[in-house]
Every structure is written in structure tokens, then in C-alpha cells.
């Protein structure tokens, strides 16, 4: 349903162009949950913000193609994009503490979105808000709709944000690290909730995270991003059991194994991601890679298979 081809996002700065997303391609099937992993600054959020049409920076240059159910979203008129956004493609943000307008009740904010996209009475929209709050397991929804964001805990606010995203039954839901700002028990509840909603609504979900544990829980397929590029993609099982790219392997080594001998120390990846301003040619991960060899000074391409990595060890 979502076909992204050669998507690039660059920001003009005083020092030059910062290539935040560099020729990224991926697909999302109907009802599928695609996990996007990568460390901070790897371009995962920016590429999905581009899909949402939410990059408002006038210095951003977006090229490539984003097709949603056959419609091209790059260069779509703001008005048409608006009609799609929130209705067919919805987004859940990372920090629920600041994602809601502080001066309106949560019922008002949910009803606002419903009314923006559907012709219905205010009373019906309000009822819809109550039903949605019940669906995301907020206790006592009749009373909760009158609450203001500051009266709710982080987990509750994230439920409200999810309820709002679901208000128009979107076909595609983009979740940008929805559990990162929450504590672990609440994280598990939110993941359960997303799984349940996916069953009930059949929405496709793009789930952005840097937490491999969360990925293992919920993803169908995964995309590993590094320095603005996709370095590996494949089914979750393939990625976890037979990672191809040294970066993916290093990511997996940096979380404690559930079975077998526990290592004394977890392996960290040495170094930091490259500066995206005037990046050097060749594989961006090479300077931190323990398996690098002569070929790595050239740019590896991502293969065409279902499970593939942008690494000369794989293609060679």
C-alpha cells in the first residue's frame, strides 16, 4: 500500500546540504507491521515525517517518490495532503507529555480530528471520542473525556494520542518511538494495545524505534537504517537469527541474550555515526566496522531480494 522509492531529504544549512535521508526505498503491505530501527540521527523519523508530509522546514528538499495506494504524495497539494493526513495516514509521536494542546480537554481534541474529516454532529463526535477512549483502555471514559492533558499520566496521554490517531480508522499508522518516553511496564501495555488495535482495525503500522527488544515483540518485517540509508531489510526472524550487515549484528550484540551464556560485558559499537554534512564516499559504517576491507571505500548497494543488506560481504 505504501511504496517509497529513492526518497531523499536534504536540509540546506549555512555549512552546506545535510543529507538526512539518502535514497531510501521500502514497501509496506496492507495490515503489515514494519519496524524501522537505527540510532538517533539515522534518518528514520525524518523519512517517515516526509511520508506524512510533515516536514515544514522551508530549507528541506524532498526528492524521490512516495506512493500511497497508487497516489503520489511527493509534491501533493497541501490541501489534498491534509485530507489524507489524520484520516488515512495517522501518526503517534514520541513524547506524549507535549503532544497534546494543554488548554483543551482530551475529548475536545479527539472530536476535533473526527470533525475535521467526517461529516457528523458535535454530539456524535463526542460520543466517538468516548468510544475511542474506551477502546484504548482508559478507565471511566465518560468522565475522562473532560480531563485536560496535564491531569493524565504519560501512559494515559499516549493512549489518548493513540485514540486520536485511530479516530478515523487510518489504513496506515506511523508510530514514532511511541514507547520511548514511557517506563517499562507502561511500554508493555502500550505494545499490547497496538497489537490489539492492529487486529481489530487491520491498519498497517510503521513502527520506528531504536529498541531491538520492542522490534522482536511486534514487527513483521524490519528495516535497519544507518546514516540516512537503509543498510538491511528482511523479515524479523531472518534479521534476528541471520543478520547480514555487520551493523545489524553489532546492534544485536549490544542487547543481552535471553538464553545461553551471558557475556561479561555487552559489546558496544565503537565510534559515532558520521556527520551527514559532506559525508565521505564509501560505506558510511566502514569506520566503525570490524569487518571492513578494501572494497568498503566504495558505496555498497542494497540487493533486490527480500532479505538483503548493503554490504560487500553479502554481495561479494
Amino acid at each position: 500500500m505504501l511504496k517509497v522509492r529513492d526518497l531523499s531529504v536534504a536540509f540546506r544549512t549555512e555549512q552546506g546540504m545535510v543529507q538526512a535521508v539518502d535514497h531510501v526505498s521500502f514497501d509496506v503491505g496492507e495490515g503489515e507491521l514494519l519496524g524501522v530501527v537505527g540510532e538517533s540521527g539515522s534518518g528514520k523519523t525524518v523519512s517517515l515525517l516526509a511520508v506524512m508530509g510533515l516536514i515544514t522546514d522551508p530549507n528541506a528538499v524532498i526528492t524521490g517518490s512516495i506512493q500511497y495506494r497508487g497516489r503520489e504524495l511527493v509534491g501533493l497539494k497541501p490541501r489534498d495532503m491534509r485530507a489524507l493526513r489524520g484520516k488515512e495516514i495517522a501518526m503517534i509521536f514520541q513524547d506524549p507529555m507535549t503532544a497534546l494542546t494543554p488548554v483543551y480537554t482530551i475529548g475536545w481534541q479527539i472530536a476535533e480530528q473526527v470533525l475535521a474529516h467526517q461529516k457528523m454532529s458535535k454530539a456524535a463526535a463526542w460520543q466517538r471520542a468516548i468510544d475511542l477512549l474506551a477502546e484504548v483502555n482508559i478507565p471511566n471514559p465518560q468522565e475522562a473525556v473532560h480531563r485536560y492533558p496535564h491531569q493524565l499520566s504519560g501512559g494515559m496521554r499516549q493512549r489518548v494520542v493513540i485514540a486520536m490517531a485511530l479516530s478515523c480508522n487510518p489504513a496506515l499508522l506511523v508510530a514514532d518511538e511511541p514507547t520511548t518516553a514511557l517506563d517499562v511496564t507502561v511500554q508493555a501495555q502500550i505494545l499490547d494495545l497496538l497489537r490489539k488495535l492492529r487486529r481489530n482495525h487491520g491498519s498497517a503500522i510503521v513502527f520506528i524505534t531504536h529498541d531491538m527488544g520492542v522490534m522482536a515483540e511486534i514487527a513483521d518485517r524490519m528495516l535497519v537504517m544507518y546514516a540516512g540509508r537503509v543498510v538491511e531489510r528482511g523479515k524479523k526472524e531472518e534479521l534476528f537469527l541471520a543478520p547480514l550487515h555487520p551493523y545489524t549484528r553489532a546492534l544485536l550484540d549490544s542487547i543481552p541474550p535471553l538464553t545461553g551464556v551471558k557475556p561479561k560485558r555487552l559489546r558496544a559499537i565503537p565510534g559515532t555515526p558520521p556527520n551527514l554534512l559532506n559525508r565521505p564516499p564509501g560505506c558510511a559504517f566502514a569506520p566503525r566496522c570490524i569487518e571492513r576491507f578494501e572494497k568498503c571505500s566504495a558505496e555498497p548497494a542494497l540487493g533486490s531480494g527480500n532479505h538483503t543488506a548493503a554490504c560487500f560481504h553479502v554481495s561479494a
Partner: protein
């Protein structure tokens, strides 16, 4: 909510009481100065001094003096100015209040409306030449001193161009009662309103623009965009709405101060007998009872305006309600 309201009003009354005690002490219990002599004015005869002593109870303990003073101002209203030979102070102040209120409220309406328009327009077009022009005009408005602007207005409308179509409607300087002559009241005040409001239009327009632009960086604006709302709705219902708190704070302070007498320069330039003008005249001939009364009145107004602002906060920002 109701409880915080009552609490706020009670707090206001307490502050007003405190101010009245403080003002009284400053004027009547300053060591080394005889309040009777000051009230009686320069070169007063011994008989008048004696009459003042008796009238204000200066032979009695200080709290009785305070109560006598408050009674004279608030209950019997018979506080007398000796400098101005038997002028009743309270009615004199009361006469000036409608003048100042007419001037300040009219100007306030103008400045709120235009500041909102300018602030919103500049925020909506931020970064473009429209925004830059509006902000430049705002800066010019802030930079023009009100007494100079008032005199220029007078020069244009009362003398140079008075006989042209543009200003022939402008009546001579002075104040007309609204109840006697509503049209005259309006016409005499139009130019003072504009003059007084220009500074505040510039100031508030700039403050509002900055607040809106700051709000537009917030995460909840991104959420609002993700909801698929129109840019207009995002600007007005989300960014503007959360920016109003700064606007209201500033408004409460300025409005209270202006009604309390800070519109003095405008009043003097346009020959309006308002509270500021009255205080100014009283200061010139050291008329203590009038100063005492207008200072009390002014501080009460500032306190009351702040209480109103706090109550508005509760309406504007749900986070304040429970606190």
C-alpha cells in the same frame, strides 16, 4: 474553581488593605514631619492648622488616625483639600474617573483589536516582507513618545489641517460627558484614543507575534498538523489560544497602571481632566489629601486589574485552575 476564585478575591482585598495602611503611614507617620502642616499647605494660618489637627484627629493614636482617614475617604466621603480651599476630594476624584476610564477603555479596545490583527498576520506570514513591515511599523509605534505624538496630532487636527475634509470633524480639546453628548464624547476622544493606543498596538503586536511563533514550534502543533487540520485552524485554535496567556498578563498590568493615572501625558496633551491630570496638579501644589486619595485609587485599580487577570488565567489555562 469557585474556591480558587473566592480565594483570589480575598487575597485582593487583603492586599488592598495592606496598601492603604502603607500609603497612610508614608503620608502621616513619617518621622520629623507634621502631617497637619503638609495638609494645610504652604503659609497656612495657625487657625487652619488647628482645624486640620482636629479634623484628622492628629491628637489621637495612629490607628484612630488611620480609621478617621479611611472613614473620610470611603464612608462619609468628606475629605477636604485645604490647599484648594475646601474642595471636597472624593467627588473631585470621582469626577475624573469617567474621563480616564473613557480614555483608557477606548484605547484598550483599539490596541487589543489591532494588536491581535497585527500579531496574527505577522505570525501567519512570518519571515516574509509582510511580517517584517508589520514588525517595523510596530517598532516605530513603540518609539514615538506619546506626548510628542499627541502634540503632532493636535497640530494636524486642530490647526494645520483643521479646515480640510480630513480633520474638520475634530472638536476643540476637552472632555464631553457621555450622558450629555454621546457624539461629542466620541469625537473628542477619537484622537486621544489613537494616540494612546499606538504604543501599545506596536508593543502587543510584537509580543503576540513572538508568542505565537514560539507556540508554533511546540510538539502539539505537529500533532495538530498530523490530525490534518487546516493551517488557519492550527494558528487560531492551537497556537494563538496558547499564546494568549502572555498577552493577558501584559494587558492586566498596563491597563491597571493606565487607569491608575499613567495616562497622564495623554490627558495633559489633550486637556482631559482625568485622574493623572488631577494627581499631577495635586503634586504641583502638594495637596496631600488628593494625592493620598488618588494614590490609593490607583493602587487599588492595579490590584483589581491583576485579580481580573488571574481569574482570566483560570479561564484560559486549565493548569492554573487546580493549582
Amino acid at each position: 474553581m469557585i474556591f480558587s476564585l473566592i480565594q483570589r478575591v480575598a487575597q485582593m482585598l487583603f492586599v488592598m488593605f495592606g496598601i492603604s495602611v502603607l500609603v497612610f503611614l508614608i503620608f502621616f507617620a513619617t518621622p520629623g514631619a507634621d502631617p497637619a502642616a503638609r495638609i494645610a499647605g504652604r503659609n497656612a494660618s495657625p487657625e487652619i492648622l488647628e482645624a486640620v489637627r482636629k479634623s484628622f484627629g492628629f491628637d489621637q493614636p495612629i490607628y484612630v488616625q488611620y480609621l478617621t482617614m479611611m472613614k473620610k475617604i470611603f464612608v462619609t466621603g468628606d475629605l477636604t483639600s485645604f490647599v484648594n480651599r475646601g474642595w471636597k476630594v472624593v467627588p473631585a476624584v470621582m469626577d475624573t474617573i469617567p474621563v480616564t476610564l473613557s480614555l483608557v477603555i477606548g484605547a484598550a479596545v483599539l490596541w487589543v483589536v489591532f494588536a491581535l490583527l497585527i500579531g496574527i498576520a505577522a505570525a501567519a506570514t512570518r519571515g516574509t516582507w509582510v511580517d517584517k513591515t508589520l514588525m517595523m511599523l510596530g517598532l516605530i509605534g513603540i518609539s514615538m513618545p506619546v506626548y510628542w505624538l499627541g502634540e503632532v496630532m493636535n497640530l494636524l487636527s486642530q490647526s494645520r489641517y483643521h479646515d480640510t475634509w480630513l480633520f474638520s470633524w475634530v472638536p476643540p480639546l476637552g472632555y464631553k460627558n457621555f450622558s450629555d453628548d454621546p457624539k461629542g464624547w466620541f469625537l473628542t476622544l477619537v484622537i486621544p484614543w489613537i494616540t494612546l493606543s499606538i504604543l501599545y498596538i506596536g508593543l502587543y503586536g510584537r509580543v503576540l507575534r513572538a508568542a505565537i511563533v514560539e507556540s508554533l514550534q511546540e510538539d502539539y502543533i505537529r500533532t495538530a498538523r498530523a490530525k490534518g487540520l487546516s493551517e488557519t485552524r492550527i494558528l487560531l485554535r492551537h497556537a494563538l489560544r496558547t499564546s494568549l496567556v502572555a498577552f493577558v498578563t501584559l494587558f492586566g498590568l498596563d491597563f491597571g497602571a493606565l487607569v491608575g493615572g499613567s495616562a497622564l501625558l495623554t490627558e495633559v496633551v489633550f486637556g482631559l481632566q482625568g485622574v493623572g491630570k488631577l494627581t499631577y496638579d495635586a503634586l504641583l501644589n502638594l495637596d496631600l489629601p488628593i494625592i493620598m486619595t488618588t494614590v490609593l485609587y490607583a493602587s487599588f485599580f492595579v490590584v483589581a486589574a491583576n485579580a481580573v487577570v488571574d481569574i482570566l488565567y483560570m479561564l484560559l489555562d486549565p493548569r492554573v485552575r487546580t493549582a
